[in-house]
């Protein structure tokens, strides 16, 4: 077993363990923190496969953005020491069955599927190349998605603001 292997399986263990913890812990803040670990583990995995840019984005956007957002919200909406009620047994059972069943089926089919590892040469994963592709409008360029997501982010921002903004209905006086 090589070091990468060991590291991977360790990573896998961390990811799986914290995933499970994150959906089972009864403290919300902890759930957010466990999520953080999962996301970090994932970022580490991106590093392992040489997707550095993606790993960086994962760290910045996910961990720096989303998780922080969640933690702020948690602080906003609940007490630190609040413990969540135990989930209903019925939901746990049914949900567990569904999730487990789904896992078995998809994992089995994935496991059995004869993926043939490509022998093609690795592409250029450098940030420069990524930037070039992001702004390329020809074959293999991603400028259109880039623009679309900019609209999306704008819309999301506006949307979030109008909802979260406390408005005072105009009073006729």
């Amino acid at each position: 077993m090589t070091f990468t292997q060991i590291f991977f399986y360790f990573l896998a263990g961390v990811i799986v363990a914290f995933s499970v913890l994150s959906v089972t812990t009864r403290r919300i803040l902890r759930a957010a923190v466990y999520l953080l670990f999962v996301l970090m583990g994932t970022a580490a995995f991106y590093f392992m496969v040489n997707f550095f840019f993606l790993a960086a984005v994962q760290l910045i956007v996910y961990i720096g953005g989303i998780v922080v957002l969640i933690i702020f919200s948690v602080l906003l909406t609940s007490q630190i020491n609040d413990r969540l009620d135990k989930p209903e047994m019925a939901k746990v059972v049914i949900g567990g069955l569904v999730a487990f069943g789904g896992l078995i089926i998809s994992a089995l089919t994935l496991w059995q599927y004869p993926f043939t590892a490509s022998s093609a040469a690795e592409g250029d994963y450098s940030v420069a190349e990524i930037g070039r592709q992001l702004l390329n409008y020809g074959e293999g360029g991603y400028v259109l998605p880039f623009e679309v997501i900019s609209i999306l982010l704008l819309a999301a921002m506006v949307g979030a603001i109008i909802i979260a903004k406390r408005i005072k209905p105009k009073t006729d006086d």
Partner: protein
């Protein structure tokens, strides 16, 4: 046949009279309406006499044989290539004879009604219906084919219905009219099915083709049988059911006594002289088919006729209502006619046929006379109950004399008309069937008895009416007198020369070996009646109490009505119609409603699927997706 097309006017003139009176009901005064009706029927009568006399004495015979002549024909409705309803007029001895009978009696009744119905609120309506009836009846006898006959058959039924129910605010009249129509309708069902069956196998409705001894009905349909009967026999039996219904043969007779609820002239015209003999006419019309292809059916006709004759005569002896006595008497006499037809053969052996037609002819006169006489009496005393009458001979001399003539005629006393025809019937019966002869003979005695019972109760006995009833106006008595003359002379018409089964002359003579005993038994009947009823006595009640149950049964018309009532009310209404209505509402309809209810129930039942809980939504989502995955993987 050219030159005779105007025959069709004989029925059409009354029809137009009906239309005019009916449509202009509001605007015409009753008198004008009556005049239109009378004028119409008189015109028809003149035409009918012209045609009938012409037929019998100038153009009807070819080589000594009376022909069937199609005076007029037009196709009316086409069913299949061969089955066509045609409207037309046939002339042969029986139709010509019937034309005379119908128009004569009709015009007399029309005239008589002028007096009888005077002042009634529905005076013009009455004439409209009478005209409609005349039209239908004349159309019936002139029918060239079975289907035309069936149509007019129905029409006479409806006119009869309308006339019986003339006093429509009287519950009894309404019920009687309904009963009459439904019973005859039921019988007509047999008629119709018979027609369908016969026409299918012969391929024609046409009387000429049907009755042709070498035609398809008689020759070609020997093969097909059903339950041991040949198809022809079967269909003729079915057709006879129709005839039996109209002619009030047992057990379809129950409507006729009740039909007496109608105005008396109507009873005279429809329920004595004309419509009720339609059944006889129908059998006579199809007689060759009966005789050649369905002797079994003919036998049935004979027995039914004989039984009805006896049955009705017995019942007639006990009835208290003058018109009902006459009604049962009518049934009995028609039974006679049927019996005669039933025992008859064809051609040389066709005495029964001739006798039957002869009796039909004479009966029309004296029975119409009896009814009109009864009408005259009722008009005077305002009751139908003979026990409330008596001694009327002093007040109503003309009615009395004419009524007596009629009674003598029906009792078969020579030289009145009934004697001759009855004699021929009995003679024919004697030749062919002793049992039937015996019945006929007994009925002759009974007839004399009940008629004179009636006669003595009404005209002799002691007067029970308060005040002095007076004789009817001349517009009523003149028809009585004319009919009385008819009853006297009708017996001398040489029927054996004119109306025979094959159209050619039939040799007959007076059969004294039959006539003498029958006159004798008639006289005995009269004498018995005289003894019992001429003066008030307790003899009748003694007799009736000694007869006990039989008398009671006869008085109650042998409970036939009750049986019918049971069947219609209890069985059909309560056991069939109501359950069907219930079934329809609570089973079939409920099933339709049930599907709706089930849908709603299911809808209510699955509403928890939409629980409002996001968790469950996701569970449905995920499990749905996984389920489809499994399903699709498994189906592969």
């Amino acid at each position: 046949m050219p030159g005779l097309e105007h025959t069709i006017l004989i029925p059409l003139i009354p029809f137009f009279a009906f239309l005019v009176i009916g449509l202009l009901n509001k605007t015409l005064s009753p008198k004008v309406a009556g005049m239109i009706g009378i004028t119409g029927i008189l015109a028809s009568t003149i035409l009918a006499y012209q045609v009938a006399l012409g037929y019998f004495f100038s153009f009807g015979q070819v080589d000594g044989v009376f022909q069937k002549i199609i005076a007029y024909k037009t196709s009316w409705l086409q069913f299949t290539d061969s089955l066509v309803i045609e409207m037309g007029a046939i002339l042969d001895p029986i139709s010509a004879m019937m034309l005379v009978v119908i128009t004569t009696v009709s015009s007399l009744v029309f005239i008589y009604s002028w007096g009888y119905m005077k002042g009634e609120s529905g005076f013009s309506r009455f004439y409209a219906f009478l005209s409609l009836f005349s039209f239908s009846m004349l159309g019936l006898v002139l029918a060239t084919n079975l289907f035309q006959m069936y149509m007019f058959w129905e029409l006479v039924g409806v006119s009869s219905y309308l006339l019986i129910g003339f006093y429509y605010d009287k519950a009894a009249a309404v019920a009687a009219s309904k009963k009459a129509f439904i019973v005859t309708r039921f019988a007509d069902l047999g008629f119709l099915i018979g027609i369908l069956l016969l026409s299918f196998h012969t391929g024609t409705f046409d009387f000429q083709l049907l009755t042709d001894p070498n035609g398809p009905a008689i020759t070609s349909v020997g093969g097909a049988t059903f339950m041991g009967l040949s198809v022809v026999s079967l269909s003729l039996l079915l057709i006879f059911i129709g005839g039996a219904g109209k002619s009030a043969m047992f057990p379809l007779h129950i409507w006729l006594p009740d039909a007496m609820e109608g105005p008396t002239p109507v009873s005279a015209l429809i329920h004595a002289a004309t419509m009720v003999v339609a059944g006889v006419y129908l059998v006579a019309r199809l007689f060759p088919v009966f005789a050649f292809a369905a002797p079994e059916a003919l036998e049935v006709v004979a027995y039914i006729g004989a039984f009805t004759a006896l049955f009705a005569a017995v019942v007639a002896c006990t009835q208290p209502d003058i018109k009902r006595v006459l009604a049962y008497s009518t049934m009995s006499q028609i039974g006679y006619m049927m019996l005669a037809l039933g025992v008859s053969g064809f051609g040389e052996d066709g005495l029964g046929y001739t006798a039957s037609m002869f009796h039909l002819f004479t009966h029309a006169f004296f029975k119409a006379l009896l009814f009109l006489g009864a009408g005259s009496i009722i008009h005077a005393v305002h009751t139908n109950d003979i026990f409330k009458m008596g001694g009327l001979r002093k007040f109503m001399p003309i009615t009395h004399i004419t009524f007596l003539i009629a009674c003598l005629a029906i009792a078969g006393i020579p030289p009145f008309a009934g004697f001759f025809s009855k004699d021929e019937i009995l003679a024919a019966a004697l030749v062919s069937n002793k049992l039937i002869f015996g019945v006929g003979f007994a009925v002759a005695g009974l007839t004399a008895f009940y008629m004179f019972r009636l006669y003595f109760m009404v005209f002799w006995n002691e007067a029970k009416i308060e005040g002095a009833p007076h004789e009817s106006p001349s517009v009523m008595t003149i028809p009585l007198i004319i009919l009385a003359i008819g009853s006297l002379v009708a017996g001398f018409v040489p029927f054996n020369e004119l109306v025979t089964s094959n159209g050619s002359l039939l040799a007959t003579e007076l059969h004294w070996e039959v006539a003498a005993p029958s006159v004798a038994i008639g006289l005995i009947g009269i004498v018995v009646a005289m003894v019992m009823y001429r003066k008030a006595s307790n003899l009748p009640s003694k007799l009736s109490s000694s007869l006990g149950g039989i008398y009671k049964a006869a008085y109650s018309k042998f409970y036939i009505d009750e049986v019918y009532m049971f069947v219609t009310k209890k069985v059909i209404f309560n056991l069939i119609s109501r359950p069907i209505a219930w079934f329809d509402r609570n089973i079939i309809d409920a099933f339709m409603d049930m599907t709706a209810k089930m849908t709603n129930l299911v809808s209510e039942g699955i509403k928890e699927m939409q629980s409002g809980q996001l968790h469950y939504y996701a569970i449905y989502f995920a499990s749905g997706a996984i389920l489809f995955v499994v399903l699709m993987l498994w189906m592969r």
